[in-house]
Symmetry: C2
Subunit: 279 residues, 2 copies
């Protein structure tokens, strides 16, 4: 059972239909060609999607330690060898430099541009380490299976993500606040949503917070820092999950000289099945 997935704005109908029918490896090839540069929520249901942060080796230890200390925000699906752009564990025939729909380039913590291919950076330098991080999109298909509506899907939007007041555990030069994604859930489905997502800790696991957004420092639920706002109907409660956009909050606060991330919502579709991430 799958809610109707609305075509994101700006995507050709033909490309959208091919993406809806694609296996993960086929979807990555469509993305690699530059045909699809939109949010990936809801695509290839059952397969894990992934966030990205790429850092030079000199900053990689601190970030790897940060991820170890903050596993809810940064569940690592794969960390590449230094200079390696092909994934080996989470997917086959998968080029980390081209297979995300959209990337962000940061210099000294400032977002300098958004691109759809970062091959040139791997050609210019040989010291980059890529961190592929679990994404809550990958448990969404299980929530949908259980009859829980994903409002951002049914509204054809990117999931709303908030820069919260909750501090991560720092590690060396890396620190920052948690980013959380939010889904409105009806009261009678909250426990089920906790249990289903909690069974998959490698894609953020159980929620961080249920209810009043101000408790976690979210000032205006209608103005997410990343993604799009969604409607919350009467009888629904905002439920917040740790989000793999947290590394971007870390980059902005910690200001490493150079970093590449995915653009929020524009994820890697891996070959790893959600069921393989359980336990």
């Amino acid at each position: 059972m799958q809610d109707k997935l609305l075509k994101p704005e700006g995507v050709d109908q033909d490309v959208w239909e091919r993406m809806l029918a694609a296996s993960p490896v086929e979807a990555r090839k469509i993305i690699r060609k530059g045909e699809f540069a939109a949010p990936t929520s809801g695509l290839c249901p059952g397969y894990a999607q992934a966030n990205l942060i790429i850092l030079p080796k000199e900053d990689a230890f601190d970030f790897l330690l940060f991820a170890q200390r903050n596993p809810k925000s940064c569940p690592l699906l794969e960390v590449t060898d230094v200079g390696e752009r092909m994934a080996k564990i989470c997917a086959r025939d998968c080029d980390i430099a081209t297979d995300f729909p959209r990337y962000r380039i940061y210099e000294n913590g400032e977002l300098v541009k958004e691109v759809t291919d970062v091959s040139e950076y791997f050609e210019q330098r040989d010291d980059l380490v890529s961190f592929v991080i679990g994404c809550s999109f990958s448990f969404e298909s299980e929530l949908i299976e259980a009859g829980i509506e994903m409002r951002h899907n049914t509204m054809g939007r990117n999931v709303p993500m908030y820069l919260t007041g909750v501090e991560c555990v720092p590690a060396g030069s890396m620190s920052g606040n948690m980013v959380m994604s939010m889904r409105p859930i009806p009261y009678d489905q909250i426990v089920k949503a906790v249990q289903i997502s909690g069974a998959i800790p490698k894609v953020h696991g159980a929620p961080m917070h249920i209810g009043d957004p101000s408790v976690i420092g979210v000032k205006d639920i209608d103005k997410p820092e990343f993604g799009d706002p969604v409607d919350i109907y009467p009888g629904e409660v905002p439920v917040f999950w740790a989000c793999g956009v947290t590394p971007q909050s870390v980059v902005m606060q910690s200001r490493p000289a150079f970093a590449i991330t995915h653009a929020p919502g524009h994820m890697l579709i891996t070959d790893t099945k959600n069921v393989d991430l359980k336990g």
Copy 2:
């Protein structure tokens, strides 16, 4: 319910009785004073015990990546900041340089000596990173609770540990084969042992192998590479779990210039309860 724990050889009766009655912080203080330098299996039941590897910063990234890629062998309970010798997460008032009963010093992959205090190394250099790694001793108390005998405890020995033929996933300069601990389990308790240990992934989780030792490259079950042999009675099967001594196999194969580990079986007793490591 606790099997009778036999006093390890060479330990004073008075010290042994104080260790049996001690809380984790009290046990660490007895160890810190140098009064107890023996295996810790069975002590402070319910609290997680931990393995150790200390490496200079220059090798720490590769080892952290190795641990990320080999979570069954190297489940990280805590990784310290560079140069820090006090634990902050797994225990309070816990000096990593003194609170293990016994340490091993490796130079270029060769074991050069065994000591009961490594403070001098933290005084000589400021670049050491400590990896505190979950230990199967910490699920033993749950197995004992379930009525499963721990043969090495009832024989007053260290658990047998084997250098197997199973290769770990390499990371940078770090590679090596898995070390596994072995416990003989009666046929009718094997499933229970799998389920109980499998529920605590941060202390190695479910077994790696059940039965014929030759399948994992163990040539002589009576000659473990680490620890002591134990009796296997008719109707019992050798069950193998990933072991936190694996880093020592990695050190011996990868030959970093300098490394400190705990001595096999001589673990840190943490303040972390096993129940807090579940899920």
